[in-house]
Symmetry: C2
Amino acid sequence: MRKQNVSGAVIRRLPRYYRHLNELNQAGVVRISSSALGKSMGLTASQIRQDLSCFGEFGQQGYGYNVDNLLNEIVDILGMNRGHTAVILGVGNLGRALIENFNFGWSGFHLNAAFDVRPEVVGQIMAGTPIFHIDQLENYLREHPASVGVLTVPRSIAEEMADRLVKSGVKGIWNFTNTELNIREEGIFIENVHFSDSLQTLSYLISEDA
Amino acid sequence: MRKQNVSGAVIRRLPRYYRHLNELNQAGVVRISSSALGKSMGLTASQIRQDLSCFGEFGQQGYGYNVDNLLNEIVDILGMNRGHTAVILGVGNLGRALIENFNFGWSGFHLNAAFDVRPEVVGQIMAGTPIFHIDQLENYLREHPASVGVLTVPRSIAEEMADRLVKSGVKGIWNFTNTELNIREEGIFIENVHFSDSLQTLSYLISEDA
């Protein structure tokens, strides 16, 4: 059961819980206390209890959390059990990295297809993913709707491609173009992976004592 | 002049200011009011004034901000004028994407070199960046110290490579391995780019009304 009005900060931490709990699960841990979970994640036990209380009562006093139940709950909260699908626009180095090396299934997505314009990639099947010409985007999405479009195109065409994705019915855009998209449509969500923002934050941190 | 005790949330927003102000600068805008800047960034004027007040007095009532001054100040705050340097460990698809397509200079970094083990890439020069064998890492860094190590290696060796970077004197690790690093040394900063965390957050957002 998903709860409404969970804070953005808690949501942002859930993927970390998912990663840690998966590791515990694979290590054969059945139950864990909030203090042990906190220690392994660098959070306090009370922080853990507070985060997880947003989603109901998973833990029992003196008993801890059942790792498997908690994992299933997080999967449900994050919507990773909804059969979400994705298409990638742009099969350059980064698009290729996502197609060949990124595990979409681990986040509950199936990568249906990728699109580009270059003759050397169009028509190929890359790590199981077919690559079509961008001219086929609308036709393809009409027959195979996608939940999310992944943008790894040059930033000069980012806006245009985002518009085409939205018109074709995607609900979310995973944006790697290092530019802000001006999507005004209601109910469309954009998640940015701005590499330069991240590197500049690191620059700040390492410069602090200079 | 850098101020201490600026909140993490403000720091995280500064790269966005940098991006927007750069665009304004390139468009020839010399001065901008906090309300106009806010509108273009989807923030309120008072949020803008509050953020920028952390760093001193840049704006004047009824006069706005001088775009060029504000840009220079943000560059200084983020430490982008310190001559930071970087090396990349791992020249797979993602490493190649960073070497060939990511503009390190735009964030104040110079990418000195990259390291891998595969004979087909070791010894090459890729987009101006020499690629060495990982065995040469320590020797290279002794002669050419790097501020930051970029980890795009398989997660199975992420921890080991991070340790070698830290022992060789880097101050920060830009971590793309989708795993949490256990670095205990003081004064070492880790900035994670966890693709799956980002996609799972998007999954949450598009699932909200389901």
